[in-house]
């Protein structure tokens, strides 16, 4: 009985704090994306620009955790299969955040464009119980700066 109550409390707490944090994060992501829009990021391996450029390796990473509510929804979903929307938004936030950090670093260096962007996603949950996921997203690429 007590266990059930504790679980319910955790789910409610997770839901409220988690969705609040998510909204706040999305707001900040959208704001910063607007500011950094002027710095294009390309996935192409070969730079399409001509001329003399300095190359700098830039990267951004973020470690993000799911909340209790997300974990609970996911474990329910596991029974029936289907889209895990709660995790989709989690990963979307992590990827966009990593790219933003990379762009911020590039902008500080005065770069004009970033090429050959690679993403790397890894689960680093480790000792934290199996229900939880801790995910790291690392984005890196080569920033070109007019020499």
């Amino acid at each position: 009985m007590y266990e059930l109550i504790i679980t319910l409390v955790l789910i409610t707490l997770g839901y409220f704090f988690g969705s609040r944090a998510e909204k706040k994060h999305y707001k900040s992501i959208i704001e910063r994306e607007k500011i950094l829009n002027s710095l294009p990021v390309m996935a192409s391996r070969i730079p399409i620009v001509k001329g003399d450029y300095d190359q700098i390796l830039v990267s951004g990473n973020v470690v993000i955790a799911s909340d209790y509510f997300k974990g609970f929804v996911a474990s329910l979903r596991n029974l029936f299969g289907g889209r895990l929307r709660t995790y989709e938004t989690l990963l979307d936030r992590a990827r966009r955040e990593a790219i933003l950090r990379m762009k911020e670093q590039a902008q500080e260096l005065g770069a004009d464009i970033i090429f050959n962007v690679k993403y790397e996603t890894s689960n680093i949950s480790g000792q934290v119980s199996s229900k939880m996921s801790v995910i790291e997203v690392h984005a890196y690429g080569t920033a070109l700066k007019k020499a």
């Binding site: 707490l13 988690g18 470690v63 993000i64 909340d67 690679k118 000792q127």
Partner: protein, 107 residues
């Protein structure tokens, strides 16, 4: 040391290829951080401690790769790739590798 994840450079010419260089770093998170992380896991959000830890770890792996590149007499590393793997409970390995080359007109 010139470091890039493109396969070639814009402008400068590669005069010699010296082969693969690599660096790795395995780091564990300490218990205090793990406790904080499990708390954070209830409410969601970024785990800043881990973000920094992995960043430092990546920096260290890169330094090791660059040391190796210097040892073989290279002045640049091209086509750099990173990889991360969770090898044991609470530990992550960062591996970075690339091709060591000698660039024309690079200090």
């Amino acid at each position: 040391m010139f470091i890039s994840n493109l396969e070639f450079t814009t402008g400068k010419k590669v005069t010699k290829h010296l082969g693969l260089v690599q660096g790795s770093s395995v780091r564990a998170k300490h218990a205090g951080r793990d406790i904080m992380a499990s708390l954070k896991n209830l409410f969601g959000g970024e785990l800043k401690g881990y973000t920094e830890l992995l960043q430092e770890s990546r920096e260290e792996a890169t330094q090791r790769m660059l040391a190796q590149a210097r040892a073989v007499g290279a002045n640049a590393v091209l086509n750099v790739r990173f990889s991360t793997s969770s090898i044991a409970a609470g530990a992550a390995e960062i591996y970075v590798y690339g091709t060591a080359v000698i660039l024309d007109g690079q200090g």
